[in-house]
């Protein structure tokens, strides 16, 4: 007859301590996210105070190093970012959904097992390498096709970003298509629809919200991409007027100017304000995509 009462508190203390230790590592993630928000805000505030929120948000001119009158309007860069991103999505969304459909509905398991890692490899190519390809391969191609002096423009950026957003769009869309209950598919097939009709009329509509989320996450990826656009879009400061013009996105501008700016100058703070804008845009896009995916998960369960 052994008693099972506690002999001391040491063991409890030890286990409790270990628990707290792991919990702290978990909480750290929240701390990092909050830290990013806090420090970006904190460093942006002087910019808004010194420049004025109005100029920052409404001016299209960004010329911080002008000796006469430095200007800090972010609209041109925002427009460039949006333009390049939309261009990228127009290409990669249909392509991505097509590949996702192929992987989920058409490919034989063996083919799938080969194609999927290759698509994942696409996500692994460093963005600086993609940018390099933009300079050496895509740029000259665009120049030749449109008869331009060089091919470093918005179109180049869109083409490259399309490739970079593909893995995200493909994997999230494929997950959503695979999450469609088998019973839907069986019902459709039993009514005499062929697999193509089932894909188009049943599976894609049922997975629609997940596919939209994949588009948003792909967009988030494209908006935040730095090196590729920095290297391939030409970086002209003017307000974008067409896809064959050089443009400068938010990310590219930060990358170009942060290396040369004196710490704690208005210009320095202004770059963090751009960073804050960038963070907020991607944060809300990702958050919305997250909400959509959660909802879909609950609906399909």
């Amino acid at each position: 007859m052994r008693s099972v009462k506690k002999k001391g508190i040491l063991a409890d203390l030890r286990e409790g301590l270990i628990h707290r230790l792991f919990q702290t590592s978990g909480l750290m993630v929240i701390a990092i996210l909050l830290g990013i928000i806090a420090l970006l805000l904190y460093t942006s505030v002087p910019a808004f105070r010194e420049i004025g929120l109005r100029e920052f948000l409404t001016s299209t001119r960004w010329d911080p190093t002008s000796p006469e009158k430095p200007e800090y309007g972010f609209l041109s860069m925002l427009a460039s970012t949006i333009m390049v991103t939309i261009g990228a999505m127009v290409i990669s969304f249909p392509l991505g959904v097509a590949v996702a459909s192929y992987l989920s509905d058409v490919a034989a398991p063996k083919v799938r097992e080969i194609v999927k890692p290759i698509v994942e490899l696409l996500a692994a190519i460093p963005s600086v390498v993609v940018g390099f390809i933009g300079i050496t391969l895509v740029g000259p191609l665009i120049a030749r096709v449109f008869n331009l002096s060089h091919g470093l423009n918005a179109l180049n950026g869109s083409l490259l970003l399309a490739i970079m957003a593909l893995p995200t769009i493909i994997s999230i869309s494929e997950d959503s298509l695979n999450a469609v209950p088998v019973s839907y598919v069986e019902a459709s097939l039993a009514l005499g629809a062929n697999p193509w009709e089932t894909l188009i009329k049943v599976k894609i509509p049922a997975a629609a919200s997940g596919i939209i989320a994949s588009l948003m996450l792909g967009m988030g990826r494209a908006i935040g991409e730095t090196m590729t656009v920095l290297m391939a879009t030409g970086n002209a400061r003017a307000f974008p007027s067409g896809f064959l013009q050089s443009v400068r996105t938010l990310t590219a501008n930060i990358a170009i100017e942060l290396g040369e700016v004196p710490y704690y100058s208005t210009h320095y703070y202004a770059l963090f304000a751009l960073g804050l804008v960038l963070f907020l845009i991607t944060f809300f896009i990702n958050l919305s995509a997250d909400v959509i995916l959660e909802k879909q998960k609950r609906k399909l369960q």
């Binding site: 007859m1 052994r2 008693s3 009462k5 002999k7």
Partner: protein
């Protein structure tokens, strides 16, 4: 009223008083009162979903792992309420061993599987470990089959052997009570016979509680049988009484195979 006073037998090892178990909003066990005698085999029978697995998992507090599980009432083992705040879960689980439905040997060697409970608790020297491992494997009637390959991975054993290994593993920490949660549901009939024989022998040293959906099994190996139905204890008595002359109509219908 259920007869919980079985005065004719020896010491009460486990006394369950007014036990209620909830998973979230759902009540799984309702007001269970039961006394389980020492050195006897007590079987818990009932249709699936009646709460018998939940009941046996309350006896070594494995239900604690389920976040939404909530318990009311008392379970006294040797007159200590195991749901008291000052209970040492490690000591409890060493005292109350458990063998699971599906054999779950760890992907370690046969030796390390049996020695697992000893190694985590304290420092044993190699010679001691070897002695206890051999003793436990002998008790679990598997020593002859594995003595030449103690370093082999346990996952290579057959299902029946794996289950006896798990019994040996539970015995190695020298429990006083062993809980079996449908120990034969995942192994073949010949292996089942060996495990049943083993359980029967174990009662000389241990108090055994076994959950089974197999009524023949309960009849063959147990001394006492409790019949659970929809979370309630319908009848509890000597096994022969339950199977030959049950007091309750529901019990009779169940043991004669009219439902279940």
């Amino acid at each position: 009223m259920v007869n919980t006073n079985l005065k004719t037998v020896g010491q009460t090892k486990i006394l369950v008083e007014n036990l209620n178990l909830f998973y979230g909003q759902k009540q799984v066990l309702e007001n269970i009162n039961l006394s389980i005698p020492e050195n006897q085999v007590t079987a818990i029978i009932g249709p699936s979903g009646c709460g018998k697995s939940s009941f046996i998992r309350a006896l070594n507090r494995m239900n604690d792992l389920i976040p939404e599980a909530r318990i009311e009432g008392k379970i006294l083992i040797d007159e200590e309420n195991i749901y008291d705040r000052d209970i040492d879960l490690v000591a409890l689980r060493k005292k109350v061993g458990m063998v699971f439905q599906k054999p779950n040997p760890f992907p370690k060697s046969i030796f390390d599987n049996v020695a697992y409970g000893l190694k985590i608790g304290s420092n044993h020297n190699r010679a001691d470990l070897e002695k206890i491992v051999e003793k436990s494997l002998r008790q679990a009637a598997i020593w002859e089959e594995v003595k030449d390959r103690l370093n082999q991975n346990a996952l290579k054993l057959s299902g029946g052997q794996q289950q006896r290994l798990c019994i040996a593993r539970a015995l190695a920490v020298e429990p006083e009570i062993i809980l079996f949660d449908e120990p034969c549901s995942a192994i073949d009939p010949i292996a089942t016979a060996r495990v049943e024989e083993l359980i029967h022998q174990l009662k000389t040293e241990f108090t055994v509680v076994i959950v089974t959906h197999n009524m023949q099994q309960a009849a063959r190996i147990s001394d006492f049988t409790a019949f659970l139905w929809l979370g309630e204890l319908i009848e509890y008595d000597r096994t022969e009484k339950i199977f030959t002359n049950p007091a309750n109509k529901l019990t009779e219908d169940y043991v004669t195979g009219r439902f279940g």
